[in-house]
Amino acid sequence: MATMNMLQAINNALDIAMAEDEKVICFGEDVGIFGGVFRATSHLQEKYGKARCFNTPLVEQGIIGFANGLAAQGSVPVAEIQFADYIFPAFDQIVNETAKFRYRSGDLFNVGGLTIRTPYGGGIAGGLYHSQSPEAYFTHTPGLKVVVPRNPYQAKGLLLAAIRDPDPVLFLEPKRLYRASVGEVPEEDYQLPIGEAEITKEGTDITVVGWGAQMEVIGKAVELAEEQGIACEVIDLRSLLPWDADTVAESVFKTGRLVVSHEAPLTGGFAGEIAATIQERCFLYLESPIARVTGLDTPFPLVLEKEYLPDHLKIFEAIRESVNF
């Protein structure tokens, strides 16, 4: 075991994948000698050469178009989009190409080797364009997998799984935790399953679901709730597409109450999908309405970021209201 922050864990996963398979190729804006603006690809160019780790021109649609072709050829590209806020020029390549490559060709061709890494989320004074959580645009796209780790251990295991997964994966990295989240990470190779949620804390009164950076916030809210004698069951979805409805439903059968939290705006957010599915599956077991604690339906603010974000107090309030319904 070693102590790593999330960036070191991601860098370590990329290092392992590149050492193991020469078809693994990392690229994106500033990814080469500089190692990425967050340093997730540090030293990879020195170690594996410019052909396998390099800078691209500043063109997101080109990066993903290139990555799609490279994956179709049989390589294993790991493409970085510098901020999830800048993924939209590549939206066509991801939604119309990456996601549909296998289906439209009847499995003659696929881009299963592709992993798209991108930092997402707020809490870093990034304003409108360095804070967004665009996951719901992509969870609406069959053919993609969408994965979000919550800490360094999860990041390494899930990223290695994503790179080796036979389907293209959008890997959303909570950038607020890049250096803030530190933990024990095995130095050796390991994978964590894509599509399986994890119960991070057991409890009987209420289920609280989230993913990525929001898990830390949920943790704080749950501490407050526990002080008031509310036993919370906490679930990290880890993978949003496909998502593990069974684990959430099993939990809600037991607790009868559910709070879902994400940073992205409320309307059309992924919490809506979870709420709809769980009320379908658990209708007769629900003791209170399913609550969503999310960002507001506004662009991401700057000075009033704290007010916008679904922080531990807002989640705590939602837990209290649900239990007292």
Binding site: V59, G65, F66, Y103
Partner: protein
Amino acid sequence: MMTQYVHQPDFMTGDEFSIPTFSLLNPEGELHSGADEPALERDHARRIYQAMLATRILDERMMAAQRQGRLSFYMQCTGEEAAVVGATAALNDADMIMAQYREQGALMYRGFSIDEFMNQLFGNELDYGKGRQMPIHYGSRKLHYMTISSPLATQIPQATGYAYGQKLAGNGHCTLTFFGEGAASEGDFHAALNMASVHQVPVIFFCRNNGYAISTPAVEQFAADGIAPRAFGYHMHVIRVDGNDVLAVYEATRLARKIAVEQNQPVLIEAMSYRLAAHSSSDDPSGYRSKDEEEVWRAKDPLLRLQKWLLKKQWWSEEEEATQQETLRREVLETMKRAEKRSSPPLESLISDVYADITPALQRQFDQLKRHIRRYPEAYPRGAQSLDLDVGTETDTQGEP
């Protein structure tokens, strides 16, 4: 690059450069004076011509079939067979082709059978694409022809990436991507050329400048002298070629391939041609261009030009022409009848290939769908047939009044 300083303001427009058009054969099928005949063997030249002829006949027959209501949609390559087949013939058959959608001539040249065309056009159980895409969205792994995708220009940066992989693999292959002059307005075009040049990728960007993007004429698509000058901005090799002259297209592409594979450098080719047919079966060109304009280009028919050259060389004969046309027409009609009668792809093909493995959530949706189809089989004849349900007769679920 050394910066040269001047001390008077001097704006440039690009008019300082003039890109000529490379041409070998005149419309009479004779070599221009000063033109060298490419080193093209008799059998190779015949293979090219036969692919062009077969494409022309397939297109005529299938357009007619579309008009008879037998086919939902069709797109013809007519007028551009030389550009497409000539370029393909200059490649190694194992080089990847990433086409736009009007390049069936490339598949014809590589040996895609009429049956294979028909199965895709009718989306039957033998269609490689499992009936998922509209007609003309062909693909063939064994012939190194990437499955067509409707969104324009997306294949261009993909070709850059594919060719980058070929370069790393060191297999001596390259990728050629076809696109129209309209698609060259998309951001993906610029992204692709810039990345290919920066990363020294063995890819050939082949622009079919056929004068129209549906109804929009080239003069409303760009202000500059076509697509070719854009290569300068990317420091890329470029050549403009008479797209109706198959010998010129062949020779230009052959040399472009040498640059791509031997120097790991991308090349842009702009083939000047004309879309003689409508954009698609849903389009009517009489609304935006004149018959007179079409006649000018009909006189430059690339198929006739090559045919005349072959006849002069005695590599082809009138008798062969007649026999070949007759045989092809018959084959197209016979295979069409076969393809029409085949079953649809099974209901499972609705949910397979979304992912490598069917996800549990999708399986649940599918099970629900099957239960629904069992309840109302008449409303879903294809799905019901696939589930082996009795369609067209009264069933228990419908009940007697």
